[in-house]
Symmetry: C2
DNA sequence: CCCCCAATGATTATGATAATCAATTCCTTG
DNA sequence: CAAGGAATTGATTATCATAATCATTGGGGG
């Protein structure tokens, strides 16, 4: 189940357009970029570049690998997406309009579970204060085995006890 | 400053030898592996494969890239080293004989600062309990700007106020 | 309606790590 | 102590994700 979204004043599409067109160097907001933003923000999930490309092509949306990688980087710079360190490849998820949270990742099936805990922000505050550190963001992933995989891995006689 | 080490009954070298020779498939504990373990555990540090190779070669220790990568993986499996997610490449640090802790990483100079906070373990316990999740380990890195880089980046007039 | 400049995308490059495999080393056994 | 055999080594090659290249396309301001 997804977390509750955060109220925002602009649509992701408008925010990205603003990011691109505001500033010293003019950047264009193209049809492919618009398709990417709309597709990505049509549902919340954790995805990598390859998955995005195949899903968009399956949805009959034209996108090349180069443009996908380039636009993902721009979306991160614009504050729309957040990068996730979930293994060797880079994953992405919504940042704009989605609350701060962290992740449990199952090492058996790969599933990613979201959770929130205010004491994490507090721990960051304390450690930063103690070290004169100016915190800008964090990555927190707990690895382990999810409920379903735990049940599947249990010997039969242990299941009987439940 | 490093954290206080944890008392252990075996030297890293002995523990690795035991890991290699115990079990169904016999694995040899070679001179190069012994050199690597001794070198790595002669000082606490956060390093990647390339840095290890150059430092060992600078210390006149023979090591090939292939053997370095292979042995690093074995050291992680043996519980001697822990992998760190500090960006695109893989970093390593002592696990055996070193206490649980997490990291602040400076995005300006790359410096890595260690800190401990028991509320992080508690947050993991709570999130795991709430999701039926069996936790096995975690990665927690706070990105930001360290004290020295903060001072260096400050405009002169702000420095004057200190 | 042009023209310029940014975007696109096929292709090539990069860089870290893993696989290959012939040569070497080193335990085991007789 | 010699020989056999299995595991390790290391030069080389492969892989895989992502980043650059650069010729072509196209869109928006004048
Ligand atoms: Mn998430
Ligand atoms: Mn550390
Ligand atoms: Zn699972
Ligand atoms: Zn710094």
């Amino acid at each position: 189940m997804n977390l509750q979204s955060v109220a925002v004043s602009q649509s992701p599409e408008d925010k990205f357009r603003e990011y691109l067109t505001t500033g010293n160097k003019p950047q264009r907001f193209t049809g492919q970029q618009r398709d990417m933003v709309r597709f990505i923000f049509s549902h919340h999930d954790h995805f990598d570049a390859e998955a995005l490309i195949s899903e968009m092509q399956a949805a009959n949306l034209k996108i090349s690998r180069a443009t996908a990688y380039r636009t993902l980087n721009k979306l991160v710079d614009a504050g729309l997406l957040r990068r996730l360190e979930l293994g060797p490849r880079t994953f992405y998820e919504h940042d704009y309009g989605y609350p701060q949270h962290d992740h449990l990742q199952c090492t058996k099936c790969g599933k990613v579970i979201e959770f929130q805990n205010p004491s994490i922000e507090e721990a960051i505050r304390q450690a930063s204060l103690a070290n004169g550190f100016q915190s800008e963001g964090h990555s927190f992933v707990v690895r382990g085995v999810c409920k379903e995989c735990n049940i599947a891995l249990m010997p039969k006689r242990q299941l009987d006890l439940i």
